[in-house]
Amino acid sequence: MSEVIFAYETSGEEMTLNMGPQHPSTHGVIRFIIKTDGEIMHTAIPDVGYLHRSIEGIAEKCTYEGFMPYTDRVDYVCAMTANHAWAAAVEKLADIKVPERGEYLRVITDELNRISSHAIGVGAMAMDIGATTPFMYILREREYVNDLLEMICGARLTYNYHRVGGVGWDMPTGWRDKCLRWLDHFEPIIDEYNRLICLNELFIKRLANLAVVTGEEAISYGMVGPNLRASGVDFDVRRDAPYSVYGKFQFDVPIGKGEMGTVGDCWDRYYVRIEEWKQSVRILRQAFDQIEKTEKDFWNHPKKLKPKGDAYARVEAARGDMGCYVVGDGTANAYRARFRTGSFNSMKVIQDKSRGLMVADLVALIASLDIVAPEIDR
């Protein structure tokens, strides 16, 4: 814990504050009911549901393939992986094989999207605690990713590119070279970004030792992805429960080391994302190398899709292990669909860890968990 540098006397009066639903640092519409004594919070209770569109209910009313465009809205900052989760679950349910090129294109778009999603995550975090400039720098890089993804699927945010049995289109001519050129450009930017903000003294002072979540707690809370790894748990779905073609790549899984404070503090959660950029770049280079050798076929279009039974598929989304559970009853529509998302589980972390924090530090905690409101509410 950080050393006490000033004495603080509580007045014994509790005040209730509403933070949100339209608060810029809540990353979407979430409300926090804060009970505070002066600057020190007693509790912050998340009140979610403002973006609830009943995506799971819509899934029961669409065909399996017709539901694909809705999955983008589960997590609009990282829509590709939500596409992937739905496709993987339906493929597991109906026992469909995906052509190799389709799998490579999925991995490539997933990783590009992961880079752009982490860009929003780390950029917005810096902005939330008061550094506006880095957000602008990193958003410039995100624009390039958006351009690249627009070239391959026509959309900049809600992609709808993956299909049950493959992907919608092959990559356009020259796209591979454009991506490789951009990777060459992006890799040095990571170091530049580190010099700009990550290793900034003030930034570290704000984040180190703040809202520490131990590894054991993180597992019990059901935290996933970068948040889990920041707490020192060495687990990545891509490596430890490989899906798609992730088994064919060499990459490291960065975990929180507590370099600036304690393992599992806000700075660790932040820096794990920066490290993941480097690994995504590594995966992308290998994928672009290997995709050259694949056959032309990229979509094994299922003619009849009326599966029966149930299946659970998990993919590594930008906000961690995203699970999709599908139940089929032998008709063209899913009988029940369920998305298990990282942000929803993070809500309980905020509820518990906000005790004793300052109001300004709550903003850092929310941002460090990289919460996206539609993923909570679905």
């Binding site: 979610v48 549901g49 609830h52 009943s54 799971e56 209910g57 597991k92 026992d95 707690e217 597992i219 019990s220 809370y221 059901g222 748990v233 687990f235 430890d240 429960a241 039974g309 149930d310 299946a311 659970y312 998990r314 292990d321 699970g323 559970y325 139940v327 009988y335 029940r336 369920r338 298990r340 929803f344 589980n345 809500m347 309980k348 518990d352 509410d377 679905r378």
Partner: protein
């Protein structure tokens, strides 16, 4: 550990609380659990040295009105041992209750609240069983198969007319009819609506 071994371990410890182990093709293997003994089984799954299911991945309730049951599905995963398992429990549809496991896995707290909110499953012993996504005064459980949405919620219509229908109305209707088509439910009581509150 393979799923069959996990089931054998469970049977050895808790006997008939678990039953009907099923492993078909590529599907996830699962077993059924008696709802009244789910908490004991969950403690075993979490703490047994050979099982160590420390991650409660996903809690789902599925409504089967034809069989008159609500089925709970728990997806579990073990980080130390890297194996997974699925546990299902059939609850009677007219009184769907099961023991809460929020004290074993903290993740279960909010996930159980969500299933309570959308499907109306009662979790016995849950510390804070309130609606989470829907407003507290919402009526009914939307993901149940026989759910019918009320036409109005707090004097607000819950649906809007189809825009295709509106186009026809716009071609033919008088201004008053247009107004009524745009705001169904509003103004039915005449113009004496109270505005002073």
């Amino acid at each position: 550990m393979e799923a069959a071994e996990i089931f054998a371990r469970l049977t050895a410890e808790v006997g008939d609380a678990v039953s009907a182990f099923t492993a078909l093709g590529t599907r996830d293997p699962f077993c059924m659990v008696a709802p009244a003994r789910w908490h004991d089984v969950a403690v075993l799954l979490r703490n047994d040295a050979a099982l160590q299911f420390d991650f409660c991945q996903c809690i789902t309730a599925v409504d089967w009105p034809k069989k008159s049951i609500l089925q709970m599905v728990y997806h579990l995963y073990s980080y130390p041992l890297r194996h997974s398992f699925v546990v299902k429990a059939d609850l009677p549809r007219d009184n769907p209750t099961i023991q809460s496991v929020a004290d074993i896995w903290m993740a279960a707290d909010w996930n159980e609240r969500e299933q309570f909110d959308l499907l109306g499953v009662g979790f016995l012993g849950h510390p804070d069983l309130r609606r989470v996504l829907l407003p507290d005064d919402w009526v009914g459980y939307p993901l149940r198969k026989d759910y019918k949405e009320a036409a109005m919620y707090r004097d607000m219509p819950t649906s809007r007319p189809s825009t295709l229908d509106l186009l026809v109305v716009y071609d033919r209707a008088t201004p008053a009819e247009k107004q009524k088509a745009m705001h169904p439910g509003a103004g039915d009581e005449g113009e004496q609506e109270t505005t002073d509150e």
